[in-house]
């Protein structure tokens, strides 16, 4: 039981990692990028290809890929998201959904239906673990994932709080018109935020590929997990995302104790329970969820 809890927490840290970029874009641009999961899987495929082709460590491949993902984020913002944002609240959903279909199927046409994993590329790290008293096992890779998740969320939080670009991002998220009036180029800020978000997505995609298998259509599940983590965490700070991810991971692990299908069902049920609790018990007005998520004060 204690072990299940620990495994749930470690799994939850992965969810926080995949949710990080979605939460960040949602907070700054106020849109939910429905292509988020597909882009993570795209990142996984790119890192995998480079690691295989050059026979290098996936972590090294990730470092090589990160700048390109940042550039892709910049392009995504300037070509798709910026235009979508101008034409109303629904358009970003439609355009990013279309983009997700394109990415998924392009990946399928290039890589086929085979499931892949990068676990073989990192040797012992993939399965090595420490046995603690009380039957608790901590996998080295799972712990590394957790450390990266906490470091990334903490780093982003620090970045938002302490750096000029971070302040500009927060100012633009709060009031883009006024941000322009104090000399901030909101278009550049949005593009930078999307670029940062894409780098976190590449990191998350890499860890997805390291800790499990992935295939061209794995994106939608990742999107759903990320979204559930954000909504469950709900408090608005990036740390809320971490808590949400952990709750999701624990719920899934406890669910899997009940039945094999309970893994996913447990997570979805917690998601709906949290939503219902937020709306009916706390009696918060509709829409407050978005507002609370947008507040990224340090």
């Amino acid at each position: 039981m204690v072990n299940e809890l620990v495994q749930g927490i470690l799994l939850g840290c992965y969810y926080a990692l995949i949710a990080c970029g979605l939460s960040f874009t949602f907070g700054v641009l106020r849109i939910i990028n429905l292509a988020h999961g597909s882009i993570a899987v795209l990142g996984a495929f790119v890192v995998w290809t480079i690691a295989e082709q050059w026979n290098i460590s996936p972590f090294l491949a990730l470092v090589a890929v990160a700048p390109f993902m940042a550039a892709a984020g910049w392009v995504l913002q300037r070509t798709v998201l910026e235009r979508s944002l101008r034409s109303g609240a629904l358009t970003p959903l439609l355009s990013t959904f279309g983009l997700a279909i394109v990415i998924d199927n392009l990946l399928f046409s290039k890589f086929g239906a085979d499931t892949r994993s990068m676990a073989p590329n990192i040797g012992d790290l993939a399965f090595a673990s420490w046995n603690l008293p009380g039957g608790v096992t901590i996998g080295q890779l799972a712990l590394l994932t957790a450390i990266v998740a906490v470091a990334l969320l903490g780093g982003l939080q620090l970045f938002l709080a302490r750096t000029p670009l971070g302040r500009a991002i927060r100012a633009t998220a709060e009031d883009p018109d006024t941000a322009e009036l104090v000399g901030i180029d909101s278009r550049k800020v949005y593009a930078a935020a999307t670029a940062i978000s894409m780098v976190t997505v590449a990191i998350a995609g890499t860890f997805l590929a390291l800790r499990a298998t992935f295939d061209p259509y794995a994106g939608s599940a990742q999107l759903i997990f990320a979204f559930e983590a954000i909504v469950i965490g709900g408090t608005g700070s990036l740390w809320g995302t971490l808590i949400g991810g952990i709750v999701l991971g624990v719920a899934q692990n406890l669910g899997s104790q009940i039945s094999p299908q309970g893994f996913l069902i447990g997570g979805h049920l917690v998601f709906f329970a949290v939503l219902a609790a937020r709306f009916f018990i706390a009696g918060r007005s509709p829409g407050s969820l978005v507002r609370s998520l947008r507040r990224t004060s340090p």
Binding site: L34, S87, S95, G98
Partner: protein, 336 residues
């Protein structure tokens, strides 16, 4: 108050009268379809009717109530599942197929209390999560046997020709009824409320439009409509595999048809369904590139032609085939 030119509120014009007349003629012609279409074409046209239903329902939800859902496959799948369950309980198979959408519609009523509190993207993915949950829950049913699935065995009691014709007529009738319902809804007081909500939700609420009740009405209609499409699909395929029915691809089709035809127009989704039907017939076999094309079209239409083909045409030329709106015209005469 004096007015040199009286303003006439107009609903019908020559074009819309002609359009409605030819539509009725088309429906009559379609009603005799199975007698002259041949088995293959009858099946294909049945599929087209199902697409029209799906597109019209998704358009009602997104184009009129402003609710973009990526989870309508939930109702599609539940409609088929409910029919399986009812038939298994000993109810006449065609009655089961007819009751299923009503049950799913009723079940969507309590769900709406939660779902409609979500905004924009939250609603979109929230519905997707619901669809996943519905899928997993159906898999737990011993009758369905997980992803193995089951069949609507009771249907095999009917001869294939009879079945084919029945499916065709039921699909035609349901399509006419559901699209007609949207038409009536748009012309009623609710139609005005819907347009007010679409233009500005807060302003609509402030002048007394019952925003939540109106959205709920459309949400339930769309749920029941998608369930009807699911139950119809089951009646043509007979086999029920949860993965097929609860696939997000159904919603992708709905979005494609609505976006290409014209989001928020009455005629658009019907045109979109026909376009999708033609594209599927020609390119459906090319698999993955066909899907890439669908996704790319949705992306490009949402960015560059957000009113779709039909919406762009009406904006440019002022054509309105179906009398769903009101037009103001300068001139004399009584309001028609």
């Amino acid at each position: 108050m004096t007015q040199a030119q009286p303003i006439v509120v107009q609903r019908w014009n020559v074009l819309s009268i002609a359009a409605v007349t030819s539509l009725v003629a088309l429906l009559v012609a379609l009603a005799f379809g199975p007698t002259y279409l041949g088995p293959n074409l009858t099946d294909r046209i049945t599929t087209l009717f199902i697409y029209v239903i799906l597109a019209a329902m998704w358009n009602a939800l997104a184009g009129y109530a402003g609710l973009v859902s990526v989870g309508q496959q939930a109702f599609f799948g539940l409609g088929a599942y409910a029919a399986i369950r009812l038939s298994n309980a000993g109810i006449n198979v065609y009655l089961a197929l007819a009751l299923a959408p009503l049950i799913v519609g009723a079940a969507s009523f309590p769900l709406s209390a939660l779902a409609l509190r979500l905004r924009g993207g939250e609603f979109a993915i929230g519905m997707w999560v619901f669809a996943e949950l519905a899928h997993l829950s159906v898999n737990l049913d011993g009758l369905v046997q997980g992803e193995t699935g089951t069949s609507l065995i009771a249907l095999s009691a009917f001869a294939p020709d009879v079945r084919r014709a029945c499916n065709y007529w039921i699909a035609l009738a349901l399509m006419t009824a559901l699209v007609g319902l949207v038409f009536v809804l748009l012309r009623s007081r609710t139609g005005a409320a819907i347009q007010a909500i679409r233009d500005n939700e807060e302003a609509a609420a402030s002048v007394g439009v019952r925003v939540f009740a109106t959205k709920r009405l459309i949400f339930v209609l769309a749920a029941a409509g998608c369930a009807a499409a699911g139950s119809l699909t089951l009646s043509t395929l007979i086999s029920f595999q949860p993965k097929t029915y609860f696939s997000v691809q159904w919603t992708a089709y709905m979005i494609f048809m609505t976006l290409v035809g014209g989001l928020g127009t009455f005629e658009g989704p019907i045109i979109g369904a026909v376009i999708f039907f033609v594209i599927e017939t020609i390119f459906g076999a090319s698999g993955v590139w066909y899907l890439v094309g669908l996704g790319a079209s949705a992306l490009l239409f949402s960015l560059f032609l957000p009113r779709g083909i039909w919406g762009t045409l009406t904006d440019r030329f002022g054509i309105h085939l179906m009398p769903v709106g009101y037009r103001l015209r300068f001139g004399s005469g009584e309001p028609r």
